[in-house]
């Protein structure tokens, strides 16, 4: 009998909601056939079948949120072998499976040998009583022992061991103050925190600001709209960026410090930061260099919808080579954005405002001007290059006709 467990599909997920089963008990399944759709912190993923056989039993109901490691369903292996032999095989496969990564992760001979978490019977009971799989609890003790406190911490949703409480004095003072409301720091919020910290601690960021005259682009957009074609501004940005990136490939790159190389990428996958209820997520317009502005527009629209509904698939958020943060609709005139590691640059587009401009005839006219902030990795490029890059981008947006010259 094969046990299908919710496993970590990526990005350190800890739990997932069972959206729906693609099979029912009695169904014949083949290896790698999708069995169940799971909503994780960031996306919807399908769990494939570990082998061929018959679905025997579904254990976890649809709509339930379960921890990684929870058994979702059982599959009876196929073939004419006796059930006992099957069981033995499955058990063997399972121990082999679980022993390997666990041994690697925890480097605890003791745990892998007994296949048993170090915890006292009382601690185990607390975990059982709260339906917690003790194997999911992160031990705070360096020797890997899971304590009662670890289980309670897990219960409260905080996976990481906390530092010891502050000094008694400080506690005494705060005891008199009101207690703050608590927001669980987990799931997507924690993933964001991890990524941001990594990027900022790794990359020496430099940010410069610039203005882009949007008057002509907005006019073009109006004209297109009148002609019955609606294309959003960001779609033009993406196209213009791809063109500029081709001229300045160092911003569509990744630094491989270990091998002392800067990898200039030939794919142009543009990440589009989206704000959702749960936080920031970056769906990706893949192969933007091979797509028309209209296709890009449709891609962005589709990805935005999926992001808001929490239906992004792993493929939708992977492999970006450059990231755009379009905060304009929300306001703001400048920012120091954090690069989407391991990329080398990121641009934030801010609010477009009507401002008095001096035209070539020295007349004051009303123009639409947007500010942008570009952060780049100072290890791979210098300020002058970055300015040249945004200049190239700005020229394409200010005279959108130029985009035509780049059409393939």
């Amino acid at each position: 009998m094969l046990e299908v467990k919710l496993h970590d599909i990526g990005e350190g997920m800890t739990e997932g909601e069972i959206l729906h089963y693609l099979v029912k008990p009695g169904d014949q399944v083949i290896a790698d056939q999708p069995l169940v759709e799971v909503q994780t912190d960031k996306m919807v993923a399908e769990l494939p079948s570990p082998g061929a056989g018959t679905v025997k039993e579904i254990v976890v109901d649809t709509g339930t949120t379960v921890q990684v490691g929870t058994t979702l369903l059982y599959i009876e292996g196929e073939g004419s072998q006796t059930a006992a032999a099957e069981e033995k095989k499955a058990a063997k496969a399972e121990t082999a499976q679980s022993a390997q990564p666990e041994a690697k992760e925890r480097k605890q001979a003791f745990i892998s040998s007994f296949n048993r978490v170090l915890a006292t019977p009382y601690t185990r009971k607390i975990a059982r009583d709260h339906n917690i799989n003790i194997e999911d609890v992160t031990p705070s003790d360096p020797s890997g022992r899971v304590t009662e406190e670890d289980v309670y911490r897990f219960l409260k949703g905080d996976q990481q061991p906390q530092k010891e409480a502050a000094s008694p004095e400080a506690t005494a003072v705060s005891a008199q103050q009101t207690t703050p409301d608590e927001i669980p720091f987990r799931g997507m919020r924690k993933q964001i925190a991890k990524k941001m910290t990594k990027s900022l601690f790794t990359i020496p960021h430099v940010t410069h600001f610039d203005e882009v005259n949007m008057t002509n682009l907005l006019k073009l957009r109006e004209e297109l709209k009148a002609a019955g074609v609606s294309v959003s501004v960001p779609a033009f940005f993406v196209k213009a960026l791809v063109i500029a990136l081709k001229d300045f490939p160092v911003f569509n790159a990744e630094l491989d410090e270990e091998n002392e190389k800067i990898l200039l990428k030939k794919d142009y996958h543009i990440g589009m930061a989206v704000d959702t209820e749960d936080g920031l997520i970056v769906p990706v317009v893949h192969d933007a260099d091979k797509k028309s502005i209209k296709t890009i527009h449709e891609d962005i629209k589709r990805l935005n919808e999926k992001a808001r509904e929490g239906k992004l698939k792993p493929a939708d958020i992977q492999n970006s080579t450059f990231t755009v943060s379009n905060v304009g609709p929300l306001g703001s005139i400048g920012a120091t954005p954090i690069i989407n590691h391991p990329e080398t640059a990121l641009i934030a587009f801010h609010k477009t405002k009507k401002v008095p401009l001096v035209n070539e005839n020295d007349e004051i006219v009303i123009g639409h001007v947007m500010t942008l902030s570009m952060s780049f990795d100072h290890r791979v490029a210098d300020g002058a290059t970055a300015v040249a890059f945004t200049n190239r981008f700005a020229s394409l947006i200010e005279q959108p006709n130029k985009l035509m010259l780049e059409m393939i």
């Binding site: 006796t82 059930a83 006992a84 605890q108 001979a109 003791f110 892998s112 040998s113 007994f114 048993r116 170090l118 915890a119 006292t120 019977p121 185990r124 009971k125 059982r128 009583d129 339906n131 020797s143 890997g144 022992r145």
Partner: protein, 471 residues
């Protein structure tokens, strides 16, 4: 189904009143569940009436007998008269009867309904109980199968006629064997061998298809040394080919270590294997899943493939020990009552009431090494223990194995006086995932065998007081 059949309704029905079954019944009563216990023979089952308890009466008597020479050394009157087996059998009956009555009284006090008879399922929710001419049907909400197991002779051994004995028969023997051949290699074989030897029989052990005893290597080595000292012959890798009961003796032909051998003795004890008692339950009728050997398959809550039916003890897979049955019995009932019990046999101790006794829990040194554990081991000989000296029980040792990377105790093994009682400490330390310091910190009664454990732990880093430093 018989027309007009009258069935009675029950909530929880437990089939089998052995240690697993009656513990489950009492726990059910404690949790407020109405419970019915069905037993075809005596409450207490094989363990109380034919197994654990009677065998320990013999090992205890043997221990006392072995102490006589030491008693003389102390100037105490001992060694007069001869051993009277009939008195020991009477004592055994008294002990088992008292214990059985104790169980009966407990069941009564807990309002456990006890029904006598042989039970078999007639449907997924009903059970028939046959007692003589009476046949009653009970409709139940939940049932627990706790019917235990029975010893079976290996293939090729003839039906016995009094001289070939299984574990439930040997302690009823009314004449003391002159020469007893013990065929097996498990704890029961060793208990039979050392106790009958101490009580006066000549004993030969044939290790049934085993290269050695199944204990921790150092323990096995010490055991072999002690058996040799007692002049108990151990023949390894043995396989009986033929056995013939004749007037006053049993003759066997066997191979041992590849050589053909013949031997005659007054009696032959056969450990045999154990078969789950499921023949009359009618499990196949509604597809309760069983293993090839017939053991009932259960999940972590002791539930069978039919959710309302549970199974515990010897009738399920795993070690065939009362301790497991008791644990599972309580767990099954707690699960039925809505609790979240767990049965984990990882640190189930191996216990032998041999002379001297053996207790072992956790990893053996070899297992730890095979796992690639960076380990520490330390063996403290009881010869260095003051109380062992006083009592004249200087054989044996305590051995501690720990993981050098985190100092967590991985296994504790002991052969020697006090091992069985000290074993609860071994198990506790392992269950608490104790570190070396957790053994070393507490104060130990002095003088006592307990100090053997302390010194073994101290020896892990070369700091046992009563152990010579390693050169």
């Amino acid at each position: 189904m018989v027309v007009g059949e009258i069935s009675q309704e029950r909530d929880l029905v437990i089939i089998g009143g052995g240690p697993g079954g009656y513990s489950a019944a009492i726990r059910a009563a404690q949790l407020g569940l109405p419970v019915t216990l069905i037993e075809q023979a005596d409450l207490g089952g094989v363990c109380l009436n034919k197994g654990c308890i009677p065998s320990k009466v013999f090992t205890y008597a043997a221990k006392k007998q072995a102490e006589t020479s030491h008693m003389q050394e102390l100037g105490l009157p001992a060694g007069e008269g001869t051993f009277d087996l009939s008195k020991l059998l009477a004592y055994k009956s008294k002990v088992t009867e008292q214990l059985r009555k104790g169980v009966e009284a407990l069941c009564k006090a807990n309002k456990v309904e006890v029904i006598k008879g042989k039970a078999g399922f007639t449907a997924e929710d009903r059970i028939g109980v046959e007692n003589g001419h009476q046949f009653d049907i009970y409709v139940f909400k939940q049932a627990i199968i706790a019917t235990g197991s029975s010893p079976v002779l290996p293939e090729g051994l003839p039906k016995k006629r009094g001289r070939i004995l299984l574990s439930h028969e040997i302690f009823d023997l009314e004449e003391m064997p002159e020469h007893l051949i013990v065929y097996g290699h498990d704890y029961i074989s060793l208990e039979v061998a050392t106790s009958f030897h101490a009580l006066g029989a000549k004993v030969t052990i044939l290790l049934e298809q085993a290269a050695d005893f199944p204990f921790e290597q150092s323990v096995t080595k010490e055991l072999n040394r002690l058996l040799k000292k007692k002049k108990i012959k151990v023949m390894k890798d043995a396989l009986i080919q033929s056995a013939e009961e004749a007037e006053g003796e049993v003759r066997i032909g066997f191979t041992a270590g590849g050589k053909e051998e013949q031997m005659a003795a007054s009696h032959l004890f056969v450990a045999g294997s154990r078969r789950p008692n499921v023949q009359y339950l009618g499990l196949k009728r509604f597809g309760i899943e069983q293993t090839e050997e017939g053991f009932v398959r259960v999940n972590g809550n002791m539930q069978t493939s039919v959710p309302s039916i549970y199974a515990i003890g010897d009738v399920t897979e795993g070690p065939l020990l009362a301790v497991k049955a008791i644990k599972q019995g309580k767990a099954a009932v707690e699960a039925i009552a809505g609790g979240k019990p767990e049965v984990d046999v990882t640190f189930l101790p191996t216990i032998v009431h041999s002379l001297p006794p053996i207790a072992s829990a956790g990893l053996t040194e070899q297992q730890a090494r095979e796992m690639g554990m960076d380990l520490r081991t330390s063996q403290f000989a009881l010869g260095g223990n003051g109380y062992a000296m006083i009592t004249g029980k200087k054989d044996g040792f305590v051995k501690v194995i720990s993981d050098a990377s985190n100092e967590i105790v991985a296994g504790i093994h002991m052969i020697g006086e006090g091992a069985v009682e000290l074993s609860s400490t071994f198990v506790q330390l392992l269950e608490m995932a104790a570190k070396e310091e957790d053994i070393k910190f507490p104060a130990y009664a002095h003088p006592s065998f307990n100090e053997g454990l302390l010194e073994a732990a101290e020896g892990l880093i070369g700091q046992a007081i009563h152990m010579a430093p390693k050169k």
